[in-house]
Amino acid sequence: MIEIGDLRFSYDEGDFLLEIPQLKVADGETVAIVGPSGSGKTTLLNLIAGIATPRSGQVTTNGYKISELQDAARRDFRIANIGLVFQEFELLEYLNVLDNILLPYRINRTLQLDKSVRVRAEDIAERVGIGDKLARYANQLSHGEKQRVAVIRALLVQPPLLLADEPTGNLDPLNKDRVLDILLQYATDNAATLITVTHDHDILHRFQRVIDFKDFYAYGAEQRPENVAGPM
Protein backbone atom coordinates (compact mmCIF):
# COMPACT_ATOMS: atom_id res chain seq x y z
CA MET A 1 0.00 0.00 0.00
CA ILE A 2 1.20 3.46 -0.97
CA GLU A 3 -0.32 6.42 0.77
CA ILE A 4 0.40 10.05 0.07
CA GLY A 5 -1.16 12.80 2.10
CA ASP A 6 -0.93 16.61 1.88
CA LEU A 7 2.24 16.31 -0.17
CA ARG A 8 3.94 19.45 -1.35
CA PHE A 9 7.16 19.29 -3.33
CA SER A 10 9.35 21.82 -5.16
CA TYR A 11 12.92 21.87 -6.36
CA ASP A 12 15.52 24.21 -4.88
CA GLU A 13 15.66 26.08 -8.16
CA GLY A 14 12.84 26.88 -10.57
CA ASP A 15 9.14 27.39 -9.85
CA PHE A 16 7.95 23.82 -10.27
CA LEU A 17 5.49 22.84 -7.55
CA LEU A 18 3.76 19.51 -7.01
CA GLU A 19 0.86 19.23 -4.58
CA ILE A 20 -0.96 15.99 -3.90
CA PRO A 21 -3.63 16.16 -1.17
CA GLN A 22 -4.22 12.42 -1.27
CA LEU A 23 -3.21 9.38 -3.29
CA LYS A 24 -3.60 5.71 -2.45
CA VAL A 25 -2.39 2.67 -4.38
CA ALA A 26 -3.37 -0.71 -3.04
CA ASP A 27 -1.02 -3.69 -2.69
CA GLY A 28 -0.85 -5.67 -5.92
CA GLU A 29 -2.48 -2.87 -7.93
CA THR A 30 -1.11 -2.04 -11.41
CA VAL A 31 -1.28 1.65 -12.16
CA ALA A 32 -0.35 3.69 -15.21
CA ILE A 33 0.37 7.39 -14.84
CA VAL A 34 -0.02 9.59 -17.90
CA GLY A 35 0.13 13.31 -18.44
CA PRO A 36 2.04 16.10 -20.13
CA SER A 37 5.81 16.32 -19.92
CA GLY A 38 6.96 18.31 -16.91
CA SER A 39 3.78 17.72 -14.99
CA GLY A 40 5.54 15.78 -12.23
CA LYS A 41 5.03 12.11 -13.13
CA THR A 42 8.69 11.14 -12.67
CA THR A 43 8.87 13.34 -9.57
CA LEU A 44 6.00 11.36 -8.12
CA LEU A 45 7.89 8.10 -8.67
CA ASN A 46 10.98 9.64 -7.03
CA LEU A 47 8.90 10.67 -4.01
CA ILE A 48 7.40 7.20 -3.66
CA ALA A 49 10.88 5.66 -3.95
CA GLY A 50 12.42 8.07 -1.46
CA ILE A 51 14.81 9.44 -4.06
CA ALA A 52 13.26 12.85 -3.44
CA THR A 53 11.64 14.04 -0.22
CA PRO A 54 8.63 16.37 0.01
CA ARG A 55 8.71 19.89 1.47
CA SER A 56 5.72 18.87 3.52
CA GLY A 57 3.24 16.02 3.81
CA GLN A 58 3.83 12.31 4.04
CA VAL A 59 4.69 9.44 1.74
CA THR A 60 4.10 5.97 3.13
CA THR A 61 5.42 3.10 1.07
CA ASN A 62 4.70 -0.46 2.15
CA GLY A 63 4.02 0.68 5.67
CA TYR A 64 7.16 2.82 6.02
CA LYS A 65 6.91 6.57 6.24
CA ILE A 66 9.69 6.83 3.72
CA SER A 67 9.68 10.61 3.69
CA GLU A 68 10.68 10.60 7.35
CA LEU A 69 13.55 8.14 7.05
CA GLN A 70 17.18 9.23 6.97
CA ASP A 71 18.95 9.13 3.61
CA ALA A 72 20.88 5.89 4.35
CA ALA A 73 17.74 4.19 5.67
CA ARG A 74 15.78 5.23 2.60
CA ARG A 75 18.46 3.66 0.37
CA ASP A 76 18.44 0.46 2.39
CA PHE A 77 14.66 0.35 2.16
CA ARG A 78 14.66 1.13 -1.55
CA ILE A 79 17.23 -1.46 -2.59
CA ALA A 80 15.35 -4.23 -0.83
CA ASN A 81 11.75 -3.22 -1.51
CA ILE A 82 11.54 -1.25 -4.73
CA GLY A 83 12.46 -2.29 -8.24
CA LEU A 84 13.21 0.68 -10.50
CA VAL A 85 13.07 0.58 -14.30
CA PHE A 86 14.18 3.56 -16.40
CA GLN A 87 13.41 4.61 -19.96
CA GLU A 88 17.13 4.81 -20.84
CA PHE A 89 17.87 1.38 -19.27
CA GLU A 90 20.81 2.83 -17.26
CA LEU A 91 23.04 -0.21 -17.61
CA LEU A 92 26.71 0.14 -16.67
CA GLU A 93 28.79 -0.12 -19.83
CA TYR A 94 31.76 -1.81 -18.14
CA LEU A 95 29.73 -4.67 -16.67
CA ASN A 96 28.45 -7.63 -18.60
CA VAL A 97 24.78 -8.60 -18.52
CA LEU A 98 25.06 -10.86 -15.48
CA ASP A 99 27.04 -8.28 -13.48
CA ASN A 100 24.52 -5.58 -14.43
CA ILE A 101 21.68 -7.77 -13.17
CA LEU A 102 23.55 -8.48 -9.92
CA LEU A 103 24.50 -4.82 -9.40
CA PRO A 104 22.03 -4.09 -6.53
CA TYR A 105 23.72 -6.82 -4.50
CA ARG A 106 27.12 -5.20 -4.87
CA ILE A 107 26.30 -1.59 -4.04
CA ASN A 108 24.46 -1.96 -0.74
CA ARG A 109 25.33 -4.48 1.90
CA THR A 110 21.68 -4.81 2.91
CA LEU A 111 21.57 -7.44 0.16
CA GLN A 112 23.84 -10.47 0.30
CA LEU A 113 25.09 -11.90 -2.95
CA ASP A 114 25.26 -15.66 -2.82
CA LYS A 115 24.91 -18.62 -5.12
CA SER A 116 21.12 -18.70 -4.87
CA VAL A 117 20.95 -15.12 -6.13
CA ARG A 118 23.16 -15.96 -9.09
CA VAL A 119 21.03 -18.98 -9.90
CA ARG A 120 17.89 -16.85 -9.67
CA ALA A 121 19.42 -14.21 -11.95
CA GLU A 122 20.34 -16.83 -14.53
CA ASP A 123 16.93 -18.40 -14.25
CA ILE A 124 15.07 -15.13 -14.83
CA ALA A 125 17.42 -14.25 -17.70
CA GLU A 126 16.67 -17.61 -19.27
CA ARG A 127 12.94 -17.07 -18.93
CA VAL A 128 12.98 -13.65 -20.58
CA GLY A 129 15.16 -14.88 -23.44
CA ILE A 130 18.59 -13.47 -22.70
CA GLY A 131 20.07 -16.51 -20.97
CA ASP A 132 22.63 -16.88 -23.71
CA LYS A 133 23.78 -13.26 -23.49
CA LEU A 134 24.93 -13.07 -19.88
CA ALA A 135 28.57 -12.53 -20.82
CA ARG A 136 27.86 -9.70 -23.24
CA TYR A 137 28.33 -6.02 -22.53
CA ALA A 138 25.51 -3.49 -22.84
CA ASN A 139 26.82 -2.11 -26.12
CA GLN A 140 26.48 -5.58 -27.64
CA LEU A 141 22.72 -5.73 -26.95
CA SER A 142 19.66 -4.44 -28.81
CA HIS A 143 17.36 -1.89 -27.14
CA GLY A 144 14.85 -4.60 -26.31
CA GLU A 145 17.52 -6.77 -24.74
CA LYS A 146 18.92 -3.87 -22.73
CA GLN A 147 15.49 -3.11 -21.27
CA ARG A 148 14.97 -6.76 -20.41
CA VAL A 149 18.31 -6.71 -18.55
CA ALA A 150 17.22 -3.55 -16.71
CA VAL A 151 13.90 -5.20 -15.80
CA ILE A 152 15.62 -8.33 -14.48
CA ARG A 153 17.89 -6.10 -12.36
CA ALA A 154 14.73 -4.56 -10.85
CA LEU A 155 13.02 -7.93 -10.30
CA LEU A 156 15.98 -9.85 -8.89
CA VAL A 157 15.50 -8.74 -5.28
CA GLN A 158 11.82 -9.77 -5.60
CA PRO A 159 10.50 -6.37 -4.52
CA PRO A 160 6.87 -5.86 -3.47
CA LEU A 161 6.83 -2.59 -5.44
CA LEU A 162 7.90 -1.86 -9.03
CA LEU A 163 8.29 1.69 -10.28
CA ALA A 164 8.82 2.01 -14.02
CA ASP A 165 9.51 5.34 -15.70
CA GLU A 166 8.47 5.02 -19.35
CA PRO A 167 9.89 1.50 -19.59
CA THR A 168 8.65 1.04 -23.15
CA GLY A 169 9.50 4.51 -24.44
CA ASN A 170 12.47 3.40 -26.52
CA LEU A 171 11.15 0.05 -27.69
CA ASP A 172 9.55 -1.31 -30.85
CA PRO A 173 6.01 -2.80 -30.53
CA LEU A 174 7.26 -6.36 -30.14
CA ASN A 175 9.72 -5.53 -27.38
CA LYS A 176 7.24 -3.15 -25.77
CA ASP A 177 4.77 -6.02 -25.31
CA ARG A 178 7.51 -8.32 -24.15
CA VAL A 179 8.74 -5.96 -21.44
CA LEU A 180 5.19 -5.18 -20.29
CA ASP A 181 4.43 -8.89 -20.16
CA ILE A 182 7.41 -9.44 -17.88
CA LEU A 183 6.48 -6.59 -15.53
CA LEU A 184 2.78 -7.44 -15.34
CA GLN A 185 3.42 -11.15 -14.98
CA TYR A 186 5.76 -10.47 -12.08
CA ALA A 187 3.19 -8.21 -10.42
CA THR A 188 0.51 -10.88 -10.81
CA ASP A 189 2.67 -13.77 -9.65
CA ASN A 190 4.05 -11.94 -6.62
CA ALA A 191 1.06 -9.73 -5.72
CA ALA A 192 3.44 -6.82 -6.26
CA THR A 193 2.38 -3.23 -6.91
CA LEU A 194 3.36 -1.80 -10.29
CA ILE A 195 3.30 1.92 -11.01
CA THR A 196 4.32 2.88 -14.53
CA VAL A 197 4.75 6.34 -15.99
CA THR A 198 4.01 6.27 -19.70
CA HIS A 199 3.15 8.42 -22.70
CA ASP A 200 1.93 5.40 -24.62
CA HIS A 201 -1.87 5.32 -24.49
CA ASP A 202 -1.97 2.02 -26.40
CA ILE A 203 -0.83 0.13 -23.33
CA LEU A 204 -3.15 1.73 -20.76
CA HIS A 205 -5.76 -1.00 -21.13
CA ARG A 206 -3.35 -3.46 -19.58
CA PHE A 207 -3.35 -1.63 -16.22
CA GLN A 208 -6.00 -1.82 -13.53
CA ARG A 209 -6.00 1.96 -13.00
CA VAL A 210 -4.87 4.98 -14.96
CA ILE A 211 -4.00 8.28 -13.29
CA ASP A 212 -3.98 11.18 -15.72
CA PHE A 213 -2.12 14.32 -14.55
CA LYS A 214 -4.12 16.26 -17.16
CA ASP A 215 -7.31 15.60 -15.18
CA PHE A 216 -5.83 17.60 -12.40
CA TYR A 217 -5.54 20.65 -14.65
CA ALA A 218 -9.15 20.20 -15.69
CA TYR A 219 -10.45 21.03 -12.26
CA GLY A 220 -7.61 22.79 -10.53
CA ALA A 221 -6.02 25.06 -13.04
CA GLU A 222 -8.04 28.18 -12.26
CA GLN A 223 -6.96 28.25 -8.66
CA ARG A 224 -3.32 27.42 -9.32
CA PRO A 225 -0.46 29.19 -10.96
CA GLU A 226 0.69 27.91 -14.33
CA ASN A 227 2.97 24.81 -14.31
CA VAL A 228 1.77 23.72 -10.85
CA ALA A 229 0.67 20.07 -10.65
CA GLY A 230 -1.70 18.75 -8.04
CA PRO A 231 -3.54 15.72 -6.70
CA MET A 232 -5.81 13.40 -8.63
Partner: protein
Protein backbone atom coordinates in the same frame (compact mmCIF):
# COMPACT_ATOMS: atom_id res chain seq x y z
CA UNK B 1 34.71 -4.96 0.27
CA UNK B 2 35.05 -7.76 -2.24
CA UNK B 3 32.11 -6.41 -4.26
CA UNK B 4 33.55 -2.91 -4.23
CA UNK B 5 36.92 -4.17 -5.46
CA UNK B 6 35.21 -6.32 -8.07
CA UNK B 7 33.26 -3.40 -9.54
CA UNK B 8 36.37 -1.21 -9.51
CA UNK B 9 38.36 -3.94 -11.19
CA UNK B 10 35.72 -4.43 -13.89
CA UNK B 11 35.79 -0.71 -14.63
CA UNK B 12 39.58 -0.68 -14.92
CA UNK B 13 39.64 -3.79 -17.11
CA UNK B 14 36.94 -2.41 -19.42
CA UNK B 15 38.90 0.84 -19.80
CA UNK B 16 42.17 -1.02 -20.05
CA UNK B 17 44.01 1.47 -22.25
CA UNK B 18 43.26 4.37 -19.91
CA UNK B 19 44.20 2.16 -16.96
CA UNK B 20 47.46 1.08 -18.58
CA UNK B 21 48.45 4.70 -19.24
CA UNK B 22 47.62 5.70 -15.66
CA UNK B 23 49.42 2.71 -14.16
CA UNK B 24 52.49 3.28 -16.30
CA UNK B 25 52.63 6.98 -15.45
CA UNK B 26 52.35 6.42 -11.71
CA UNK B 27 54.71 3.44 -11.86
CA UNK B 28 57.35 5.64 -13.48
CA UNK B 29 56.90 8.34 -10.85
CA UNK B 30 57.48 5.79 -8.11
CA UNK B 31 60.15 3.80 -9.88
CA UNK B 32 62.43 6.45 -11.34
CA UNK B 33 63.80 7.99 -8.13
CA UNK B 34 63.93 4.65 -6.30
CA UNK B 35 65.42 2.74 -9.23
CA UNK B 36 67.94 5.48 -9.84
CA UNK B 37 68.93 5.43 -6.20
CA UNK B 38 69.33 1.65 -6.26
CA UNK B 39 71.49 1.80 -9.37
CA UNK B 40 73.70 4.56 -8.01
CA UNK B 41 74.03 2.96 -4.57
CA UNK B 42 74.87 -0.45 -5.96
CA UNK B 43 77.19 0.86 -8.62
CA UNK B 44 78.95 2.97 -6.03
CA UNK B 45 79.31 -0.09 -3.83
CA UNK B 46 80.71 -2.20 -6.70
CA UNK B 47 83.03 0.49 -7.96
CA UNK B 48 84.27 1.43 -4.49
CA UNK B 49 84.84 -2.16 -3.39
CA UNK B 50 87.10 -2.84 -6.35
CA UNK B 51 88.92 0.48 -5.95
CA UNK B 52 89.45 -0.07 -2.23
CA UNK B 53 90.96 -3.47 -2.97
CA UNK B 54 93.54 -1.88 -5.27
CA UNK B 55 96.05 0.21 -3.35
CA UNK B 56 98.09 2.01 -6.03
CA UNK B 57 98.35 2.16 -9.80
CA UNK B 58 101.26 3.45 -11.81
CA UNK B 59 100.54 4.59 -15.34
CA UNK B 60 101.33 7.19 -17.95
CA UNK B 61 100.53 10.79 -17.10
CA UNK B 62 97.10 11.73 -18.32
CA UNK B 63 93.59 10.93 -17.18
CA UNK B 64 93.65 9.19 -13.77
CA UNK B 65 90.07 8.07 -14.42
CA UNK B 66 91.00 6.35 -17.66
CA UNK B 67 93.90 4.63 -15.90
CA UNK B 68 91.69 3.47 -13.02
CA UNK B 69 88.80 2.29 -15.20
CA UNK B 70 91.12 0.39 -17.53
CA UNK B 71 93.12 -1.24 -14.75
CA UNK B 72 90.24 -2.04 -12.38
CA UNK B 73 87.35 -2.74 -14.73
CA UNK B 74 89.23 -3.45 -17.97
CA UNK B 75 87.42 -0.70 -19.88
CA UNK B 76 88.00 -0.67 -23.62
CA UNK B 77 89.63 2.78 -23.66
CA UNK B 78 93.23 2.22 -22.60
CA UNK B 79 95.48 4.96 -21.20
CA UNK B 80 98.77 6.06 -22.70
CA UNK B 81 101.31 3.27 -22.46
CA UNK B 82 104.29 3.03 -20.10
CA UNK B 83 107.39 0.89 -20.38
CA UNK B 84 107.80 -2.42 -18.66
CA UNK B 85 110.76 -0.83 -16.88
CA UNK B 86 108.24 1.01 -14.66
CA UNK B 87 107.26 -2.35 -13.20
CA UNK B 88 110.90 -3.21 -12.64
CA UNK B 89 111.47 0.14 -10.96
CA UNK B 90 108.57 -0.34 -8.56
CA UNK B 91 109.74 -3.86 -7.71
CA UNK B 92 113.35 -2.77 -7.36
CA UNK B 93 112.38 0.07 -5.01
CA UNK B 94 111.65 -2.56 -2.38
CA UNK B 95 108.58 -0.51 -1.36
CA UNK B 96 105.96 -2.51 -3.19
CA UNK B 97 105.27 -5.60 -5.21
CA UNK B 98 104.69 -4.81 -8.86
CA UNK B 99 102.08 -6.58 -10.97
CA UNK B 100 102.22 -5.59 -14.64
CA UNK B 101 98.97 -4.93 -16.49
CA UNK B 102 98.54 -4.75 -20.22
CA UNK B 103 94.82 -4.36 -20.90
CA UNK B 104 94.51 -3.51 -24.54
CA UNK B 105 93.27 -6.46 -26.57
CA UNK B 106 90.00 -8.32 -26.66
CA UNK B 107 88.54 -11.61 -27.66
CA UNK B 108 85.08 -10.67 -28.93
CA UNK B 109 83.82 -8.47 -26.09
CA UNK B 110 86.02 -9.96 -23.38
CA UNK B 111 89.15 -8.07 -22.35
CA UNK B 112 92.48 -9.87 -22.57
CA UNK B 113 94.48 -8.96 -19.48
CA UNK B 114 98.24 -9.40 -19.84
CA UNK B 115 99.65 -9.79 -16.34
CA UNK B 116 101.65 -12.11 -14.11
CA UNK B 117 100.63 -15.02 -11.91
CA UNK B 118 100.83 -12.68 -8.89
CA UNK B 119 97.59 -11.11 -10.06
CA UNK B 120 95.60 -14.23 -9.11
CA UNK B 121 96.94 -14.32 -5.56
CA UNK B 122 96.54 -10.54 -5.17
CA UNK B 123 92.86 -10.73 -6.14
CA UNK B 124 92.34 -13.99 -4.22
CA UNK B 125 91.15 -15.71 -7.37
CA UNK B 126 90.85 -19.47 -7.18
CA UNK B 127 90.44 -22.02 -9.93
CA UNK B 128 87.21 -23.85 -10.67
CA UNK B 129 89.09 -26.14 -13.05
CA UNK B 130 92.49 -26.37 -14.70
CA UNK B 131 95.57 -24.45 -13.66
CA UNK B 132 97.27 -21.07 -14.15
CA UNK B 133 98.92 -20.34 -17.48
CA UNK B 134 102.36 -21.90 -17.59
CA UNK B 135 103.72 -21.27 -21.08
CA UNK B 136 103.33 -18.67 -23.78
CA UNK B 137 99.98 -18.82 -25.53
CA UNK B 138 98.03 -20.19 -22.60
CA UNK B 139 95.21 -18.30 -20.97
CA UNK B 140 92.97 -18.43 -17.90
CA UNK B 141 89.36 -17.34 -18.29
CA UNK B 142 86.87 -15.85 -15.83
CA UNK B 143 83.65 -17.67 -14.97
CA UNK B 144 81.45 -15.50 -17.19
CA UNK B 145 83.77 -15.90 -20.16
CA UNK B 146 83.79 -19.68 -19.75
CA UNK B 147 80.01 -19.63 -19.57
CA UNK B 148 79.40 -17.35 -22.55
CA UNK B 149 82.02 -18.93 -24.81
CA UNK B 150 81.36 -22.44 -23.55
CA UNK B 151 85.05 -23.23 -23.13
CA UNK B 152 86.80 -25.79 -20.95
CA UNK B 153 90.50 -26.26 -20.15
CA UNK B 154 92.10 -27.52 -23.35
CA UNK B 155 89.81 -25.49 -25.63
CA UNK B 156 91.09 -22.53 -27.61
CA UNK B 157 90.20 -18.83 -27.68
CA UNK B 158 91.20 -16.46 -30.49
CA UNK B 159 92.08 -12.85 -29.85
CA UNK B 160 90.28 -10.25 -31.95
CA UNK B 161 91.98 -7.92 -34.40
CA UNK B 162 92.29 -4.38 -33.08
CA UNK B 163 90.81 -2.92 -36.24
CA UNK B 164 89.12 -4.77 -39.05
CA UNK B 165 90.46 -2.68 -41.91
CA UNK B 166 94.08 -2.27 -40.82
CA UNK B 167 95.94 -5.16 -42.46
CA UNK B 168 99.20 -4.16 -40.80
CA UNK B 169 97.60 -4.26 -37.38
CA UNK B 170 97.41 -7.02 -34.78
CA UNK B 171 96.76 -10.52 -36.11
CA UNK B 172 94.61 -12.93 -34.11
CA UNK B 173 96.41 -15.37 -31.80
CA UNK B 174 94.89 -18.71 -30.95
CA UNK B 175 95.29 -19.27 -27.20
CA UNK B 176 94.81 -22.47 -25.27
CA UNK B 177 92.64 -22.34 -22.14
CA UNK B 178 94.64 -23.73 -19.21
CA UNK B 179 92.20 -22.94 -16.42
CA UNK B 180 88.86 -21.45 -15.45
CA UNK B 181 88.45 -19.17 -12.44
CA UNK B 182 85.74 -19.49 -9.85
CA UNK B 183 83.13 -16.75 -10.01
CA UNK B 184 84.30 -13.71 -8.05
CA UNK B 185 81.42 -11.33 -8.94
CA UNK B 186 83.97 -8.76 -10.10
CA UNK B 187 85.19 -7.67 -13.54
CA UNK B 188 87.65 -10.61 -13.32
CA UNK B 189 84.72 -12.87 -14.26
CA UNK B 190 84.59 -11.16 -17.65
CA UNK B 191 88.30 -11.29 -18.42
CA UNK B 192 90.78 -13.56 -20.20
CA UNK B 193 94.13 -13.59 -18.42
CA UNK B 194 97.39 -14.22 -20.23
CA UNK B 195 101.02 -13.73 -19.34
CA UNK B 196 102.10 -10.23 -20.30
CA UNK B 197 104.48 -11.77 -22.83
CA UNK B 198 101.57 -13.47 -24.58
CA UNK B 199 99.90 -10.06 -24.78
CA UNK B 200 103.03 -8.71 -26.44
CA UNK B 201 102.90 -11.58 -28.93
CA UNK B 202 99.28 -10.65 -29.70
CA UNK B 203 100.59 -7.17 -30.44
CA UNK B 204 103.27 -8.60 -32.71
CA UNK B 205 106.19 -7.49 -30.54
CA UNK B 206 107.16 -11.08 -30.17
CA UNK B 207 106.59 -13.71 -32.81
CA UNK B 208 107.39 -17.18 -33.99
CA UNK B 209 108.14 -18.22 -37.52
CA UNK B 210 109.63 -20.87 -39.73
CA UNK B 211 113.31 -21.61 -38.92
CA UNK B 212 115.22 -19.58 -41.53
CA UNK B 213 118.21 -21.84 -41.18
CA UNK B 214 116.22 -24.75 -42.58
CA UNK B 215 116.49 -25.52 -46.29
CA UNK B 216 112.74 -25.08 -47.01
CA UNK B 217 113.02 -21.44 -45.86
CA UNK B 218 115.88 -20.57 -48.18
CA UNK B 219 113.62 -19.12 -50.86
CA UNK B 220 112.32 -16.56 -48.36
CA UNK B 221 115.72 -15.28 -47.24
CA UNK B 222 116.68 -12.00 -48.87
CA UNK B 223 120.08 -11.51 -47.20
CA UNK B 224 122.06 -13.20 -44.52
CA UNK B 225 124.91 -11.77 -42.39
CA UNK B 226 126.62 -13.01 -39.25
CA UNK B 227 123.97 -11.82 -36.80
CA UNK B 228 121.09 -10.79 -39.01
CA UNK B 229 118.86 -12.53 -41.54
CA UNK B 230 116.45 -10.53 -43.70
CA UNK B 231 113.50 -12.50 -45.05
CA UNK B 232 110.48 -11.66 -47.22
CA UNK B 233 106.78 -12.16 -46.45
CA UNK B 234 106.78 -15.74 -47.75
CA UNK B 235 108.28 -16.95 -44.47
CA UNK B 236 105.52 -18.67 -42.46
CA UNK B 237 104.59 -16.87 -39.19
CA UNK B 238 102.76 -18.85 -36.51
CA UNK B 239 99.41 -17.64 -35.18
CA UNK B 240 99.18 -20.37 -32.59
CA UNK B 241 101.75 -21.35 -29.98
CA UNK B 242 102.15 -25.10 -29.77
CA UNK B 243 104.63 -27.44 -28.17
CA UNK B 244 106.24 -27.83 -31.58
CA UNK B 245 106.73 -24.16 -32.33
CA UNK B 246 106.97 -22.55 -28.89
CA UNK B 247 110.78 -22.45 -29.10
CA UNK B 248 110.60 -20.40 -32.27
CA UNK B 249 108.84 -17.54 -30.46
CA UNK B 250 111.14 -14.74 -29.53
CA UNK B 251 111.16 -11.01 -28.84
CA UNK B 252 113.18 -8.37 -30.56
CA UNK B 253 114.72 -5.47 -28.66
CA UNK B 254 114.84 -4.76 -24.93
CA UNK B 255 111.89 -6.06 -22.93
CA UNK B 256 112.26 -3.08 -20.59
CA UNK B 257 110.92 -0.91 -23.41
CA UNK B 258 107.89 -3.11 -24.01
CA UNK B 259 104.50 -1.55 -23.27
CA UNK B 260 102.18 -1.83 -20.29
CA UNK B 261 98.97 0.04 -19.55
CA UNK B 262 99.68 0.11 -15.81
CA UNK B 263 101.59 -1.34 -12.93
CA UNK B 264 99.56 -2.47 -9.97
CA UNK B 265 101.70 -1.54 -6.98
CA UNK B 266 101.05 -3.36 -3.71
CA UNK B 267 102.98 -1.49 -0.99
CA UNK B 268 104.59 -3.52 1.76
CA UNK B 269 102.97 -1.15 4.32
CA UNK B 270 101.32 2.28 4.52
CA UNK B 271 104.64 4.05 4.96
CA UNK B 272 106.06 2.36 1.85
CA UNK B 273 102.99 3.42 -0.05
CA UNK B 274 103.44 7.07 0.98
CA UNK B 275 107.13 7.00 0.03
CA UNK B 276 106.34 5.40 -3.31
CA UNK B 277 103.72 8.05 -4.06
CA UNK B 278 106.24 10.71 -3.17
CA UNK B 279 108.54 9.50 -5.91
CA UNK B 280 105.95 10.37 -8.54
CA UNK B 281 105.37 13.97 -7.48
CA UNK B 282 107.96 15.35 -9.87
CA UNK B 283 106.13 17.60 -12.32
CA UNK B 284 108.39 16.55 -15.14
CA UNK B 285 107.78 12.84 -14.69
CA UNK B 286 106.16 10.99 -17.59
CA UNK B 287 104.29 8.62 -15.31
CA UNK B 288 101.89 9.06 -12.42
CA UNK B 289 100.78 7.05 -9.42
CA UNK B 290 97.17 7.13 -8.32
CA UNK B 291 95.04 5.84 -5.46
CA UNK B 292 92.09 4.30 -7.32
CA UNK B 293 89.72 4.88 -4.39
CA UNK B 294 90.29 8.65 -4.67
CA UNK B 295 89.63 8.63 -8.41
CA UNK B 296 86.49 6.52 -8.08
CA UNK B 297 85.21 8.71 -5.24
CA UNK B 298 85.51 11.72 -7.52
CA UNK B 299 83.63 9.84 -10.23
CA UNK B 300 80.89 8.91 -7.75
CA UNK B 301 80.61 12.51 -6.58
CA UNK B 302 79.90 13.48 -10.17
CA UNK B 303 77.37 10.67 -10.54
CA UNK B 304 75.67 11.67 -7.27
CA UNK B 305 75.38 15.26 -8.43
CA UNK B 306 73.80 14.12 -11.68
CA UNK B 307 71.50 11.84 -9.69
CA UNK B 308 70.34 14.75 -7.54
CA UNK B 309 69.51 16.77 -10.64
CA UNK B 310 67.61 13.85 -12.13
CA UNK B 311 65.68 13.20 -8.91
CA UNK B 312 64.72 16.87 -8.69
CA UNK B 313 63.48 16.73 -12.29
CA UNK B 314 61.58 13.50 -11.61
CA UNK B 315 59.89 15.05 -8.57
CA UNK B 316 58.69 17.99 -10.65
CA UNK B 317 57.49 15.70 -13.44
CA UNK B 318 55.91 13.47 -10.79
CA UNK B 319 53.93 16.32 -9.30
CA UNK B 320 52.74 17.29 -12.76
CA UNK B 321 51.73 13.69 -13.46
CA UNK B 322 49.86 13.38 -10.17
CA UNK B 323 48.03 16.64 -10.91
CA UNK B 324 47.14 15.32 -14.37
CA UNK B 325 45.99 11.99 -12.94
CA UNK B 326 43.82 13.83 -10.40
CA UNK B 327 42.34 15.92 -13.23
CA UNK B 328 41.65 12.77 -15.26
CA UNK B 329 39.93 11.25 -12.23
CA UNK B 330 37.78 14.32 -11.64
CA UNK B 331 36.82 14.55 -15.31
CA UNK B 332 36.04 10.86 -15.21
CA UNK B 333 33.70 11.44 -12.26
CA UNK B 334 31.91 14.11 -14.24
CA UNK B 335 31.55 11.78 -17.23
CA UNK B 336 30.30 9.06 -14.89
CA UNK B 337 27.75 11.27 -13.16
CA UNK B 338 24.86 9.39 -14.75
CA UNK B 339 26.26 5.99 -13.79
CA UNK B 340 26.75 7.15 -10.20
CA UNK B 341 23.22 8.60 -10.13
CA UNK B 342 21.81 5.29 -11.34
CA UNK B 343 23.55 3.38 -8.57
CA UNK B 344 22.34 5.87 -5.97
CA UNK B 345 18.78 5.84 -7.36
CA UNK B 346 18.36 2.10 -7.21
CA UNK B 347 19.52 2.18 -3.61
CA UNK B 348 23.30 2.02 -3.64
CA UNK B 349 24.77 3.32 -0.41
CA UNK B 350 26.82 6.48 -0.73
CA UNK B 351 29.83 5.09 1.19
CA UNK B 352 29.86 2.01 -1.02
CA UNK B 353 29.67 3.93 -4.29
CA UNK B 354 32.40 6.29 -3.02
CA UNK B 355 34.46 3.27 -1.93
CA UNK B 356 34.10 1.81 -5.41
CA UNK B 357 35.51 4.97 -6.97
CA UNK B 358 38.32 5.13 -4.41
CA UNK B 359 39.01 1.43 -4.98
CA UNK B 360 39.76 2.24 -8.61
CA UNK B 361 42.41 4.71 -7.47
CA UNK B 362 43.62 2.20 -4.89
CA UNK B 363 43.97 -0.59 -7.46
CA UNK B 364 45.80 1.71 -9.88
CA UNK B 365 48.20 2.76 -7.11
CA UNK B 366 48.71 -0.84 -5.98
CA UNK B 367 49.33 -2.02 -9.55
CA UNK B 368 51.73 0.86 -10.14
CA UNK B 369 53.56 0.22 -6.88
CA UNK B 370 53.83 -3.51 -7.58
CA UNK B 371 55.21 -2.85 -11.04
CA UNK B 372 57.59 -0.24 -9.65
CA UNK B 373 58.74 -2.76 -7.02
CA UNK B 374 59.28 -5.39 -9.72
CA UNK B 375 61.21 -2.90 -11.84
CA UNK B 376 63.29 -1.94 -8.81
CA UNK B 377 64.02 -5.62 -8.20
CA UNK B 378 65.14 -6.06 -11.81
CA UNK B 379 67.22 -2.90 -11.48
CA UNK B 380 68.73 -4.19 -8.25
CA UNK B 381 69.64 -7.43 -10.03
CA UNK B 382 70.86 -6.11 -13.39
CA UNK B 383 71.22 -2.34 -12.95
CA UNK B 384 74.85 -2.22 -11.75
CA UNK B 385 76.12 -4.35 -14.62
CA UNK B 386 74.20 -2.17 -17.10
CA UNK B 387 75.50 1.08 -15.63
CA UNK B 388 79.02 -0.30 -15.38
CA UNK B 389 78.90 -1.23 -19.03
CA UNK B 390 77.86 2.37 -19.78
CA UNK B 391 80.58 3.84 -17.60
CA UNK B 392 83.25 1.49 -18.86
CA UNK B 393 82.30 1.36 -22.55
Amino acid sequence: MRDVLYLAWRYLVYHRLKTAILVTSIMLIIYLPIGLNVVVEQSAEHLTARAEATPLLVGAKGSPLELALNSLYFSSEHPELIDYSEATMVADSGLADAIPLYVRFRSRTHPIVGTSLDYFSFRNLSFASGRPMAVLGECVVGATVAESLGVQPGDAIISSSETVFDLASVYPLKMKVSGILQRAFTPDDEAIFVDVKTAWIIEGLGHGHQDLARPEAVSGVLSRSEDNIVANASVVQFNEITEDNVDSFHFHGDLADYPLTAVLAVPRDDKSGVILRGRYTDAGATSQIIRPVTVIDELLDTILTIQQFIVAAVIIVGLATIATAALVFMLSLRLRRREIDTMLKIGGSRPRVAAMLLAEVFIVVILSSTLAAAMTLVTWRYGPSVIESFVLA
